[in-house]
């Protein structure tokens, strides 16, 4: 978990702050949302001083989530929001070697297509959750349309909730060495070579690789 000479910078501090702001607000939204979705989970509201307080926690946390989304989408969409053909298609065809044995899975860039799909899901469902949530709070649409805001809010929840667990698994024990990309920001060279060889090679070629303990050759590997 610590930085040692020879490690590679994967994210900068701003990216990590945005990530964790979004992650924590999202988890609070999950928990409070579940407290309203299931009567059996109403006790979550009791902890917060009543279900009405829980409603306010949910609605105000959504504001923080919405702001972190703006930063997340604007800084990551170029790297994680664009599926590149045909390389990414090849990766998708063999699921990146994650589900069955693949001798030589296609090499990933900074984000593999799986990560890109997660980003796209968040980038689409996140704003949808904010917009539908606001229209549920402020019912300015005709009632026939307002009803569908609830359905869409639930569709977004199903998607994000499922992806959340995939993300947690693959970001921790599923890919050892990945978590520190979002904690300290530094990863080992061996990890980068295995997980994102194309990204590592490109940074070496462009001289943008930032190695711990060495003088910076160029801009950090994260977003500008």
């Amino acid at each position: 978990m610590t930085m040692r000479p020879g490690m590679i910078q994967a994210t900068d501090a701003f990216e990590r702050i945005v990530h964790w702001t979004m992650a924590i607000s999202c988890i609070i939204l999950f928990i409070t949302g579940l407290g309203m979705m299931f009567h059996s989970l109403n006790f979550i509201g009791t902890i917060m001083g009543g279900l009405k307080s829980l409603k306010y926690v949910h609605n105000w946390t959504a504001l923080i989530f919405g702001f972190s989304l703006i930063f997340a989408i604007s800084m990551w969409w170029k790297e994680a929001g664009v599926i590149e053909m045909p390389d990414d298609l090849e990766w998708i065809k063999c699921a990146g070697g994650y589900l069955w044995h693949v001798d030589n899975p296609p090499e990933s860039g900074k984000y593999n297509p799986g990560q890109k799909m997660f980003f796209i899901a968040v980038a689409l469902c996140g704003p949808m959750m904010v917009v539908t949530g606001l229209l549920m709070m402020f019912q300015i649409l005709p009632v026939g349309l307002t009803r569908w805001m609830y359905t869409l809010h639930a569709v977004g929840f199903v998607t994000l909730f499922a992806f959340f667990f995939v993300h947690v698994y693959l970001g921790t024990i599923g890919n050892p060495g990945s978590l520190q990309a979002m904690t300290t920001g530094w990863v080992t060279r061996g990890w980068a070579k295995k997980q994102h060889p194309k990204w590592l090679r490109e940074m070496e070629e462009h001289g943008t690789l930032v190695v711990y303990g060495e003088e910076k050759k160029g801009a950090p590997g994260g977003h500008h």
Binding site: G35, L51, Y98, M136, G144, Y150, A154, F165, N175, T188
Partner: protein, 266 residues
Amino acid sequence: MAEKIKLYDDAKCTACRGCQLACKQWNALKAGQTKQWGSYQNPPTLQPNNYMIIHFQDVKDDKGGVKWLFRKEACMHCTDAACVTVCPSGALYYNKEFGTVGLNRDLCIGCKNCTAACPFEVPKYDATTDKVYKCDMCESRLANNMTPACVKACPTGALSWGDKEAQLKKAAARAKELGGSATIYGDKYVGGTHLMYVLSEKPATYAGVQIDPSVPLSITLWKGFLKPVSLLAAGGILVGSFLHYLIHGPKLPDDAGDAGKKEGGE
């Protein structure tokens, strides 16, 4: 359980609005200021402080003249009530004895799920209290073997309260007696409502009547399908991840053995 319903017979209604006043009085609802909008129908719509209104409507009769058409609008007390389905706090509930839909306002969190879900658009949200208001069929009176206040006040017998079976028979006989396009409204929708009408005209003739109302599809998809799917999907992912870890194993750097020693088991 003796399921009971309130029957409104518009042909017997004189629109005296005694029921409106009795409703206000029993529920201690304050009067609101309204504007003259060219109709005796006042207040013009249901409001947080207004659980029921009598609709006033001019319609042409067979002889080319004009006649009044009245209708009582209030919570229909559905058997399959969308508001109860969507209420997150249990504030809206079915009265176990009568089958009506009660509202425990202490539990209401003002989320407005019910105002969107109700096919009759009955519950009304009050921003000052951040709570929702609607007719609860005078549950406090029912619990003490009294009839709803509106029924008690009705001088013509247009409103009646009684066992569902008996009321349905009465309604059928009355519709037959009225003849023409007279019909019962409420018995076929949302599992049967606990406020039913004997309408002297076709339902479509009445302003604001929902033709063939049902629990909205969006609400059924949300609560009947997506809600369980959210847990099933997440549970499937968790189980899948665990199995993936056991069967496929984590993805380690190629020199993991070596690095593992050096880097403390990453």
